[in-house]
Amino acid sequence: MNVFDILQILIFPGILFLLLLAFFYEWIDRKTYAKAQNRYGPATAGPAGLFQPVADFLKLLSKEDIVPAVCDRLLFSVTPIIYLALPLTALFVIPIASNSAIAAFEGDLLFVLFVFALMIITVFLGGWSSRNRYSTIGGVRAMLQMMSFEIPLALALSGPAIAAKSLSISTISQWQSGSTWLILLQPIGFGVLVICLMAELETAPFNIPESESEVVAGWRTEFSGRKLALIRLGKNLELVLASALIAALYLGGIQDFYVIPAVVVFLIKTVLIVLLFSFLRTIFARLRLDQTIAGMWKYLLPLAILQIVLVELGLGIG
């Protein structure tokens, strides 16, 4: 490990770049969401409100950090830090600025799946350590939702792995340059993955764990100040992770395209996915918890299994 590696981890395409990207994608998401609802959205800070997420983050950082007396203090303080660190780590196994990721290894697809599961467990622990009614209810809801979407998510991720005969995201991403895009070969898997990642991100049709106007703010009711700032940043990084994962697995992968460098390809494809997420969350209304779970088990899981059966039969391998 030399100086170049350390610079890669810390600045580009490492931590600093990813944090800035998280703020940028939050701006895109909020702006699209507002435009679709005939609102202006963030408008004051910077050109077209570009710095509004940063301003919000700094405001939250400078607010008083209140810890209620009944809370489990240690767990309550550790949860936001883990919540930020997990998606930040997982983004290093996804190719961003070159054909292969910085921390790529054979089996990093399973690592990403593990991170997605662990984030929901962190959510549950955060809600549970608050010892608040609303937080506990939100955490339990997040856990029940995770139990229903985790299996279709794993199956949707395994379709590309079987097609490319590799469990490494970088290898799958490069395999698509010699073949067709996997969205054309396995369209059902792409749909299932988008729906599951929307449930993972807790966006609109699946935002029952943090449903405002129902259980105050769900599992993050008691978090304030710097803890809430870390949680919001972690959520934005999760959005970057989800869009980067879909782009790498299904949208032809992230690699140098003739003269266009890989970063530009990454930005174009992930922004498209973020726009898709924003539109979908504008269109749909919130589902009840039982509707979500029944829908996932009754419709999404058979669809995911159907896709795997088609892949095993030799269709959709390319």
Binding site: M1, I9, L10, I15, L19, L61, S62, E64, D65, I66, V67, P68, C71, P80, I81, I82, L84, A85, L88, T89, F92, V93, S100, I102, A103, A104, F105, E106, L110, S130, R131, N132, R133, Y134, T136, I137, V140, M143, L144, M147, S148, I151, L155, L157, S158, A161, I162, L167, S168, S170, T171, V216, T221, E222, G225, R226, A229, L230, I308, E312
Partner: protein, 121 residues
């Protein structure tokens, strides 16, 4: 290309944790000193006196989904690593697991009785 040993991943994880801690301590510098009052330290409950006892987690709902989750997790893992194995081995494994799901479907007819025996022997 992909290396055999993921030596860089622990380094990245430590770097991420340190970043989070840095932001956390920065927030501690920026924020005003917190003052303690009785109202501020109370758990949020819409301005009213909240219930004193802790909320119970509905174990029964968890258990049903947890059993199915465990079974289908095996299916997902088998399919994920199926390209390493022979042609029909993953199909056989998946068929065994799906048969287990079918068994569970029969067992759910008297599920309530079984669960009571399981939880309160």
């Amino acid at each position: 290309m992909t290396s055999g040993i993921p030596y860089i991943l622990p380094v990245v994880f430590v770097a991420s944790i340190l970043t989070a801690l840095l932001i956390y301590s920065l927030g501690g510098r920026l924020a005003p000193k917190s003052t303690q009052t009785k109202e501020k330290n109370a758990p949020y409950s819409c301005g009213e006196q909240g219930p004193v006892n802790e909320a119970k987690i509905d174990l029964e709902r968890f258990l049903t989904f947890a059993i199915y989750f465990l079974i289908f997790d095996v299916v997902a893992f088998v399919t994920m690593t199926s390209f390493y194995a022979g042609d029909f081995l993953p199909v056989v494994y998946s068929a065994i697991v799906l048969a287990a799901v079918g068994m569970l479907g029969f067992a759910r007819k008297n599920y309530k009785i079984r669960q009571k025996a399981l939880l309160f022997p």
